[in-house]
Symmetry: C2
């Protein structure tokens, strides 16, 4: 049931721990903690919540030696691969690798060439993955002045320059990201680099802002690239609880039929025709089904204009009337239900439908 | 300062009241009330709030004669063009036009051919605009069965069939929408119709759900089309307060540099490097600047990795350190500020920058 419109560009696969990125692997969802990495308890707690939300790879900041040492303990207590995020100091990268990181992210803009070479030789020895993380906010000074600013070609130039270092040392377990807080710059940079190399791409809009603002920018930037078949792993960046990053990431993948994780709730904006409290219904249903991994299309419709039509396309739906509604399942009217029963009936029916599926991976509420 | 990447497709312009849609006009933002249209006080109050938020055209549901009659009073009290949304009953469309609607939206899927002709002749007489609003949830039965479901080609077929009726009667003041709750269907339908006609397009993902879910689906659907140069007016559909539809709409236009309305807040997701309370800062700044129409790029950055770089690109920004931050303006460090002063200083500086601009259209807080 995956998208028939999108043709994904084939990339050269790599592994971050056991998780495959690129090639024929599904688009991988990742996030990053916002805790102090040295605080192992808080960091592990946050990673567990990310895992529960469906996060498949997690990244932590490693700004000093104490943080690099904490990786040993963090790694023991989590179930998903761990990536160390390194800036400025190549020794921290090397220490992170030695302490069990499944991958590291380095920023060529603030790490020297020779130092990157040192990192590569340790990464090669330990057979871990490296992300070359180009960022418009921290490009190499000569590139920045050469291009007159952090433009898409400047980002591409920075990436190509770093790729050469890795290639020269026969190291190919790399993925690339060319992030910008400017959506169009990020799109154009990834489009260009995607034509020039076949390394897997980690895509995202950086510093995208708060939940709704980031949902807008990330959905446009990541969405346009994925629709073009570009992108092997995604990270939505949100100023807020990182668990919401995972929700938005799956929302993007679901909207494009790239991965179907979690319920797809279709609900109308209501208008002068609506005679039920649809805002409350949709809010309640969303809350009660939060955390569900199973895909299901649920239509919550205020009136008869599009109600039965949308309900016909959904696995389950309600089309509202005056203080009552019709419950639909796969296009068939099942029965009339009273407005006060909407939420309970719907949630029960959804749970039944999901648990009666063959090979049901289970649901959490 | 508009986008250099996007080349907008030229369409045949129409007018909804004084508002031009298509041709060289900016992409127009519209919304729809969720009040009972017969309740004139509540409807006008909501429309006023939409106007304040930057809504440029508003639509109301007209499900019965009483609602059609209410248009007279609503129209007198609002400052933006009014569109009547009609389904099933062509007599309501005619009455809405006679009662002063600046445009009407009809749904060919639930209005008969002959009845549409009657509507066209009144619309022509009164010189108002008509939206042919195709919706996947309410397609003509023969088209639905012919295509085996509400596919993109089915939506296009329905639109083309209706266009013929209007053309035959020499009426060209039309715009088209081919909406679906399925993002890819909506994208493909608009891409196809955009190749086949030059009437302006009203784009949006229908029944997109609650605020965040709709921000995701709408940003992908509307964003991909706008990036391709398709779309003359947009409506974001949200199950919730319609004022938030306007905010998301401008967020999409701003992210693509299509229209610069309101502040663009760049803020990092924070990580183990951050030593200031960036979540609170970004939340507070967003709240205090809500309603501001002036465009300004504001960077709120947790640390020195990308902080100064992003701040250099922004009109104003803060890069955080330990309980303090550096205030930047157009790439220059202005001064150090204490964390407890961040919000007040930033909001004051923003207001000053905006009010000192030539031709300042003013700001609201």
């Amino acid at each position: 049931m995956e998208s028939e419109i999108i043709r994904r560009k084939k990339t050269r696969p790599i592994y971050v721990g056991p998780v495959k990125i690129g090639g024929d692997a599904p688009v991988v969802v990742q996030s990053m903690t916002c805790t102090d990495t040295r605080d192992v308890v808080a960091t592990v707690e946050q990673i567990k919540r990310l895992e529960n939300a469906g996060c498949e790879i997690v990244r932590v900041a490693v700004p000093d030696r104490e943080a690099a040492m904490a990786l040993v303990d963090i790694k023991k207590q989590i179930g998903i691969p761990l990536i160390a995020d390194i800036h400025f100091n190549h020794l921290l990268a090397i220490e992170a690798i030695q302490n069990g990181a499944d991958g590291i992210r380095i920023n060529p803009g603030n790490t020297g060439k020779d130092k990157i070479k040192e990192i590569i030789s340790v990464a090669k020895e330990r057979d871990i993955a490296v992300r070359i993380g180009i960022n418009a906010g921290s490009l190499e000074k000569d590139i920045l002045s050469g291009y007159g600013g952090p433009t898409a070609p400047a980002l591409v130039e920075s990436a190509l320059r770093s790729i050469e270092l890795f290639k020269d040392m026969g190291f190919h377990s790399i993925k690339l990201s060319l992030k910008s807080s400017d959506v169009a710059t990020m799109i154009e940079a990834h489009r260009t680099i995607s034509e020039k190399t076949d390394y897997p791409l980690h895509i995202g809009v950086t510093e995208a802002g708060s939940l709704v603002n980031s949902a807008i920018k990330s959905s446009i930037g990541i969405g346009i690239l994925l629709y073009d078949g570009i992108g092997d792993t995604i990270r939505v960046s949100i100023t807020g609880d990182p668990v919401s990053e995972v929700g938005v990431a799956y929302g993007i993948l679901r909207a494009l039929n790239i991965r179907r994780v979690g319920p797809d709730i279709i609900s109308c904006p209501t208008c002068g025709r609506c005679e039920i409290d649809l805002f409350k219904l949709s809010e309640e249903v969303e809350k009660r089904l939060a955390g569900m991994k199973e895909y299901l299309k649920i239509a919550l419709m205020g009136c008869v204009v599009n109600g039965p039509g949308e309900a016909a396309e959904a696995d389950i739906g309600i089309a509202g009337g005056r203080n009552m509604g019709l419950l639909f399942k796969k296009g068939e009217v099942v029965r009339k239900i009273k407005e006060e029963e909407f939420v309970d009936v719907l949630v029960d029916e959804v749970k039944n439908m999901v648990s009666n599926r063959p090979n049901n991976p289970g649901m959490e509420e």
